[in-house]
Symmetry: C2
C-alpha cells in the first residue's frame, strides 16, 4: 500500500533520528533494540493520518507519533515478560537477552521517554494529549489484567471479552487518531468520531487476529497454528462456540480447555467443534460488524470523501489480510 | 516532630480519600496495599512544604503530593522485584504475594495514576510539573541501572557513586520541593534553590543510610546489620576505605567483596578495614558536607528565616537519626 509505505518510511527515519544516546547504555540499548526492530508501526501512522485528515502540520505530530510507538513497545516489553515469550518479531525478547530486571527497567524508561516526546507541544495541547495518553495507558493495564484473569476465570462472557479487547487493542488506536486530530486542532465532534473509528477498527483487528490464529494461513500469519488453543486462551472463537454449544459439547470444550497438552488431537477436536457451532462464520461477522461501525463513524466526519480514502484503505488492509 | 506529624496526618487522610476503587481489583488492590502501608511519606510532605514556603494554596498541592508518593511506590514495587526482596516495611512485597507479573503491572498502573493526579492543574502549571516529573523518573531509572551495573563493575569511583545516589535519591526530593514551589508560583531562582536543597538533603540522607547500615543501631535501623557488606554492595564506606587503603588492603577488600557468604568473619574483617581507613569518619564528614550545601541553598531563598525553620528541622530529623 503506497500511502502506508510513505508513512512507514517517515516513521522509520524519525525513529532513527531520535535513537537514544543517553547513558547508561544498559538501560537505553534495549529500548533502541526493540524500537528499531520494526513492526508495522501502525499506531504512529495513525497519529500522522489523524493530523493530516484535518489539515494539521505533520511535523508537529511527529514526536507525539513516536511517543505512541514508544508506548506500544513499552507494553510489549512488559507483556513479553508476563507471557514468558522467548521471541518477538523473530528476534529474542529483551528479558531473554538481558534478564527480567532489564526488561522491567527499560520498559519503565520507555514509558517515561514517551511522555517526554510530547513536551514540544504548547501547554494547552500538551495537557490534552497527556490526558488522553495517560487514560489510555491505564485502560491498557486494565485490559492486560482482564486478559490474565480470563485464564483462571471459569466463565467469560462476550461482554467481558469485548471489554478486554477494547482496552487491550481498541483504545490505543483510538488514542493515536485522537492525538493526531488534537494536534491538527480538529473540532471536538470530528476528533471523537475519528477516535471511535480507531476504537472499532482495533476491535475488528483483534477479533480477526483470534480468527486467523486458527483459520488463517499459519505460514503467512507468522505465528504457531492454533497457538491460542494450545494455550487454552478464551478467544472469541471459544466464546461463540461455547455459547452456541449443546450441554454435552460445552462439557467437552471445558474438558479440552482444562488440558495443557501439545497433543494435536486436542486441536482437531476443538477446531471441529468451532466449525460445527459456526464460531468461524460468526467471528467473521463480528469483524464485519465492527468494521461497519468504524465506517459509520468515519462517514460522520466533516471532511471530504477524498481525504477519507486512506482510512478505508487502512481498514481493508488490516481486516482483509489472510495473515 | 510536630510539623511532620501534622503533614503526615493530612497525607494519610488524602491517600485514604483517593483509595482506588477502579476495576479490575487484581490490578488496583496491590496499589492500595503498598500505598496504605505507610512509610514516612517524606516526599509528598516535601511537595506541601515547598508550596507553603512560598505562600501557595496547599489544597492545590495535595493531589500532586499524592502523585509523588504514587511514583515513589511505583519504583519500590519494581525495585523489590529486581532486588528479589521478600518484605517491605515488615510486610510481604507485592510480587511475593501475587507474583512478578502482578508486580510489574500494578507498578506500571501506579506510575500512570501518578500522572493522572496532576490533571487538576491548569495547562501551564501542568506542563511545568509533568516535565519535572518525567525528567525525574528517567533519572531514577538511570540511577537504578547504575546501581545494578556497580555489582559487576570492577572499579566504582566516588564520582560514579555520587551520580548514582543523586539519581536514585537526590532528584526525587529535589523534584518534590520544586513541584511544590511551582504550584505556589515561586520565583524561578527560589524554586531552583529549594530544588538544590532537596537534592543535597537526599544525597546526605543516602550517605547516612550507607553509614547506618554498618555503624547504626541495627534494631532501630530496622534492617539486617551490615546487609550491604553481605551483599557486596559498593557503598560509600567501601569506596572511601578502598581509596585510602594500601595495596595489600585493597587486595583484601577485593577478595572479601568477591565472596558471597553469610560468614560473620567477613563482616568483622570488612568493618575493621573500614575503621582502620577511617571510612566511618569520612562518611559522616560527607553527610555533613552535603547537609551544609543544602543549608546554603536554603539560606539563599528569598523568604523569612521563620518560614525556613521546618526545613532545618527536617534536615536534622533525617540526618541526625541513629536508625
Amino acid at each position: 500500500m503506497e500511502f502506508l509505505d510513505k508513512y512507514q518510511k517517515i516513521i522509520a527515519e524519525t525513529i532513527e533520528k531520535y535513537k537514544f544516546k543517553d547513558m547508561p547504555e544498559e538501560l537505553y540499548e534495549p529500548m533502541n533494540y526493540i524500537i528499531s526492530n520494526g513492526g508495522k508501526r501502525l499506531r504512529p501512522i495513525m497519529v500522522l493520518m489523524g493530523c493530516e485528515l484535518f489539515g494539521g502540520d505533520i511535523s508537529k505530530a511527529m514526536k507525539p507519533a513516536i511517543a505512541i510507538e514508544y508506548f506500544h513497545n513499552f507494553t510489549l516489553i512488559h507483556d513479553d515478560i508476563m507471557d514468558d515469550a522467548p521471541t518477538r518479531r523473530n528476534k529474542p525478547t529483551i528479558h531473554t537477552l538481558h534478564g527480567i530486571n532489564a526488561g522491567i527497567l527499560s520498559g519503565d524508561g520507555l514509558l517515561l521517554k514517551a511522555y517526554q516526546f510530547f513536551e514540544d507541544l504548547e501547554p494547552e495541547l500538551f495537557k490534552t494529549c497527556i490526558r488522553i495518553f495517560t487514560n489510555t495507558g491505564l485502560r491498557l493495564c486494565e485490559g492486560q489484567q482482564y486478559d490474565i484473569n480470563f485464564e483462571t476465570q471459569r466463565r467469560v462472557t462476550y461482554e467481558d471479552y469485548l471489554q478486554m479487547i477494547t482496552y487491550k487493542t481498541g483504545v490505543l488506536s483510538a488514542a493515536a487518531f485522537e492525538i493526531g486530530a488534537a494536534i491538527a486542532n480538529a473540532a471536538f465532534q470530528d476528533a471523537e468520531n475519528l477516535s471511535n473509528f480507531g476504537k472499532h477498527l482495533g476491535i475488528a483487528f483483534q477479533i480477526m487476529d483470534d480468527y486467523l490464529d486458527v483459520f488463517g494461513n499459519a505460514e503467512q500469519f507468522g505465528k504457531k497454528h492454533a497457538g491460542d488453543i494450545f494455550e487454552n486462551k478464551k478467544t472469541i472463537l471459544y466464546l461463540l462456540a461455547w455459547e452456541n454449544a449443546t450441554e454435552n459439547e460445552q462439557k467437552e470444550l471445558d474438558d479440552l480447555y482444562s488440558q495443557k497438552t501439545d497433543n494435536v488431537e486436542k486441536i482437531y477436536r476443538v477446531e471441529e467443534l468451532f466449525r460445527r457451532r459456526k464460531a468461524d462464520e460468526k467471528t467473521l461477522q463480528l469483524v464485519q460488524k465492527h468494521n461497519e461501525i468504524a465506517r459509520n463513524y468515519l462517514d460522520k466526519i466533516n471532511v471530504s470523501d477524498e481525504k477519507k480514502k486512506p482510512f478505508i484503505e487502512l481498514a481493508d488492509y488490516l481486516l482483509k489480510r489472510e495473515n
